[in-house]
Amino acid sequence: MNALAVSGVGFAYGARLALQDVGFAVAPGSFAALLGPNGAGKSTLIALLTRLYDLQRGDIRVMGHSLRQQPRQALAQLGVVFQQSTLDLDLSVEQNLRYHAALHGLAKSLAGARIDEELARQQLGERRHDKVRDLNGGHRRRVEIARALLHRPRLLLLDEASVGLDPASRLALNRHVRQLCRDDGLAVLWTTHLLDEVQADDELLILNRGRLVAQGLASRIGADDASLAATFERLTSSEACI
């Protein structure tokens, strides 16, 4: 069973098509990068995956649960890190995490144990009582990752999570998520518009003008051109599909 299966998804804002017949799958334990220029439809896809918008066409399954028919089971398997920080800056790290645990219906004692565990894993144990406002951008992102993992999802969705970070923190975050993917068998969907965040053995999905114009191993997709950047340029500047 795939951690994420998207099939035939289409979405329109009135007359304007934002997504057209988008279909792909992410296997458990794999790191998939969703790449696309601004306006490609990534945000709409994320809004559909997180059930902010209702599906108009097609279906999305998380660990086999359809977002249409079993939205609660599907959302329970999904952890999300949004592009814009959704932490409460005036609350402490722990208070933010406790709020999220409550939203997922975790009992207080269980939430406490999970928070200990996740913060230790993100090497943030000593910052648990600090206000989020006092954390740097990289650490805030890690808090958001810890938060997204509290309810033990099988699929982690990161929407342009590295935006706004300095290059070193960006790299560290990317490595860290890959490590989680390897250690826990967690499926990751990482959306970005930055090519250097993609590695050769990643599952790569390129979205352009609402359509998937390429999907497969990054090394294979980039094989025909001098670099992945050249392939990306070619695919997103034309109507081509591979």
Partner: protein, 263 residues
Amino acid sequence: MNAYWYCLAGIVQREWLRFVLQRSRFFSALVRPLLWLLVFAAGFRAALGIAIIAPYDTYITYETYIVPGLACMILLFNGMQGSLSMVYDREMGSMRVLLTSPLPRAFLLASKLLAIALISLLQVYAFLAIAWLYGVQPPPVGLLAALPALLLVALLLSALGLLLSNGIRQLENFAGVMNFVIFPLFFLSSALYPLWKMREASEWLYWLCALNPFSHAVELVRYALYQRLNLSALLVCLGLTALFAVLAVLSFNPQHAALRRAN
């Protein structure tokens, strides 16, 4: 079932923490009704003679008359402000996190409305305490009896706020809410003047006031403060709260807003 309870407790606790952290908001929410009580009412005391009317047993001062209305005014402002930020926030920030919870959306929204209402009650009781020191002293048991009435009114007004914010694009900022919702509801009600006084001035204004849900809310609280039950006001408030809450939850769909913006 436990998951629902933990979720509700978490949402209420978060509102509480934000309330504790934003003390300035608490004080500014108190300034408004206190200005009405200490300044406006002092000026109007001479102009407005209040006859003996239910639920009062004796002649009362104008300050005594307007305290229930001002308590409801706090709920009105908070309810509108809270629900407006829920709508504004739904595509980003904390509301977006709230909506990724696997619990039903209707439950999440109802919990959020309840949390806003509970925090508003703290402000109302802080105001009633100051009014007490100022000399407006309803029976202590009345203060307790008013609690469920105030909670119902808080829910009614935040559900109304959410419904209006969902549906009306022009209400995207608080100035719009003030002009088109708060002021008409407040001034066309029994908060500042008994309805029979309004009838002396104008029959149609009287009817507008009599039909205004906020008048029923104020009268429910006024009666409860003096340990009396205003059954018709209670039924109107209960019915409208249920109606507004259902409509607000049904119309709270971020997708509608996105589609509307695109068209």
